[in-house]
Homo-oligomer: 232 residues x 2
DNA sequence: CGAATGGATACTGTATACACGAATGATTTG
DNA sequence: CAAATCATTCGTGTATACAGTATCCATTCG
């Protein structure tokens, strides 16, 4: 959806510009490491440098743009170590999200969750990436809505954006697993089993990242081996 | 520490200005809800509106300033519900921090941790608030350093700033408990017991907030009653 | 022929200016 | 006297301008 040089009559320009740039980064139009010159972007969008500048600052706060003191902005490039850091934090917070959702346990919103899950079952390996990511986002946002923690929501959204580019290549191959894991989380939320929901959500992130869940408890209580994607 | 009208020869002004405003907010000079007009601040600091504007945007991203579209900036005022949200998230992430620290278990940095702990034992109810908070910050930053997750670090720091004003009134009365809880966390980190360290750190936040730890597992494994500040 | 140095260029940091919208107070009218 | 309306003022949103610095390329020296 084009918006007509953007310079016309819209609401707070910095927001519009930020959304535009964010979208282009997540779509891969701007590659990681690519420099984002204020004047170039402002000319391209038909606005002055100021809204662009503020948008870049905002994106920097979100983590998808890096701002070096006298060198300007560039698309953040994550090292393997930083990717692991992102995943660790996101896994933990998605776990909290699911735990809170299971504790609140709002039947009305859970119905919405199941609706999204049902829609997700129709998605196949041949669906286009945008639709896959769309459904994924919907699911996580629905869990968020049930958890009802706005602070958590903002942080997790930022983390999701930052990991989106990293997970994207693997997301198509993991459609089936993804759906199954979502379903398991929903079941745990419905049954009100907060701990299970949290555990599954945390693992879900590690699985999506195809990364071992090193932060997990050594499971002192129950069996340890081969438990990945057990439990429903 | 004055810095001489600020307008002279410093590094990136927006950062200097942001630090200045943040400090004044955390010191209580600007009350929650108070409006922060760009021009007023810029005149006060001897710089133009632009650096102030950018500083306010940055502080908004940190959460301690709220920015309404055509109304400008004000010191964020948190409702009780939002305070609970902040505490939930911070407790979870401080837990992750401690878990990671226990897993890494770097002897050199642990020595630093014990040094800070020792310094903390000298603090009494009659110490001034700044020193109390200083030691507290030192401790948490040392744990951060061991955990070595920069993403986590940034998020948790923001959360600490946001909760600082809320915890402040109770912090003097809790000096002894605080120190004991810190000591218990350190012991767990030293012994490499990641789960215990995480659990204690999480509880530590809830205790500091004087808030029940509702998000905690129902402890299916072990005993439940009267466990607050046991294990040490 | 390679490395260092100098200048030209491009871009950011900051200041100033103007336009639009919101808030406030006075004035007028019922 | 109360309420509504209008004018004024204050403050943000955006644009433009200028200064300082980093980057890049050409030139020169070893």
């Amino acid at each position: 959806m084009k918006v007509g040089t953007l310079g016309s009559r819209h609401a707070p320009l910095n927001k519009v510009v930020a959304d535009s740039i964010r979208e282009r980064i997540l779509a891969g139009e701007f590659a990681p490491g690519e420099r984002l010159a204020e004047e170039k972007l402002s000319a391209e969008l038909g606005v002055s440098r100021m809204p662009v500048r503020e948008a870049l600052r905002a994106l920097c706060a979100e983590g998808i743009v890096t701002l070096e003191p006298r060198r300007g902005a560039s698309v953040t490039v994550y090292t393997d170590a930083q990717v692991r850091e992102l995943v660790e934090v996101r896994a933990t917070l998605e776990g909290l999200n699911a735990r809170l959702a299971a504790r609140r346990h709002d039947p009305k919103q859970i119905a919405e969750l199941e609706r999204i899950l049902a829609a997700g079952s129709k998605i196949t390996e041949r669906s286009d990436l945008a639709r896959i990511q769309e459904n994924n986002a919907r699911f996580h946002e629905a869990v968020e809505a049930i958890a009802a923690n706005s602070v958590l929501m903002n942080i997790v959204r930022s983390l999701r954006d930052r990991t989106a580019l990293i997970f994207a290549p693997q997301s198509r191959a993991r459609i089936r697993e993804n759906w199954e894991e979502h379903a398991a989380i929903v079941r745990a939320v419905i049954s009100g089993d907060a701990e299970l929901a949290g555990l599954l959500a945390t693992r879900h992130v590690y699985n999506a990242a195809q990364m071992p869940d090193a932060a997990e408890p050594a499971a002192p209580t129950a069996a340890k081996p081969g438990m990945k994607r057990a439990a429903a």
